[in-house]
Amino acid sequence: MNASFNIGALAKTKWYEYLVRFAFGGAITVIAGTLAKHFGPVLGGLFLAFPAIFPASATLVAKHETEKKQKAGIATSSRGRQAAALDAAGAALGSVGLAGFALTVWKLLPRYNSAFVFLAATAVWPALAILSWRIWKKHLCR
């Protein structure tokens, strides 16, 4: 299955679910900054890769999938778990891209223009993440 984009899927998410994600994201950004300020950049930097979106989105994915099956008259909770597990498998592959992003900033930022480094790192993330996903899909996901 190829990747596809469906803007209509956004309507399935309720307003308070968007609010929860916004609050999670905002809170972890403040926490990361505060930790760096009090304990230094080495500890604070760890939290730049904190699973900020994942807990909220995985539980939402499981909930939406379970509701969908219940509406179709299928009483099962395993589909919700399977959907969340697939989301997590994607996040594991995405973390390869995230490591590439961090490595690019770490190695290039002291030597090159900041805007260029951030652009390069932001390009490295999807490139590595999508490459990992394609390899996983082709060779490992059977």
Binding site: M1, A3, S4, F5, L10, T13, Y18, G25, G26, I28, T29, V30, T34, A36, P41, V42, L43, G45, L46, F47, A49, F50, P51, I53, F54, P55, A58, T59, V61, K63, S77, S78, G80, Q82, A83, A84, L86, D87, A88, G90, A91, A92, L93, G94, S95, V96, G97, L98, A99, F101, L103, V105, W106, L109, P110, S114, F118, T122, W125, W133
Partner: protein, 113 residues
């Protein structure tokens, strides 16, 4: 105080944008890539760069490599718990989060500090 509010708004906005992208994408495994988007990093590193300079931001990025490895473990553990051990999503996220914190802080204490 104003700086914290600014961080909160920037972080919340970037995280929300990436999660919306994830919602609109299919299949689930591809959408999941956005669960590991550099959303917090983009919000934080930009502000850090302006406030503390390049060397400070690069040090944060070095630790972030370790954080990303912990995120890989976190996601793999979550997949194993939900698929193989039939644990529901909510307790699995909390259990995996404890592992993320343990491994990240353990690595910091042993190797990075």
């Amino acid at each position: 105080m104003l700086q914290y509010l600014f961080r909160f708004l920037v972080g919340g906005t970037i995280v929300s944008l990436f999660s919306c992208l994830g919602d609109a994408l299919k299949p689930k495994s591809f959408a999941g890539l956005f669960g590991a988007a550099p959303s917090v990093a983009l919000a934080t590193l930009g502000l850090t760069l302006l406030a503390d300079g390049k060397v400070y931001a690069a040090l944060e990025a070095r630790s972030m490599v370790v954080g990303a490895a912990c995120l890989f473990m976190y996601s793999a553990l979550f997949t194993w718990l939900t698929l193989r051990k039939k644990v529901d999503a909510a307790p699995a996220t909390i259990g995996s989060l404890v592992v993320w914190l343990g491994v990240a802080l353990g690595t910091w204490a042993l190797f990075l500090r």
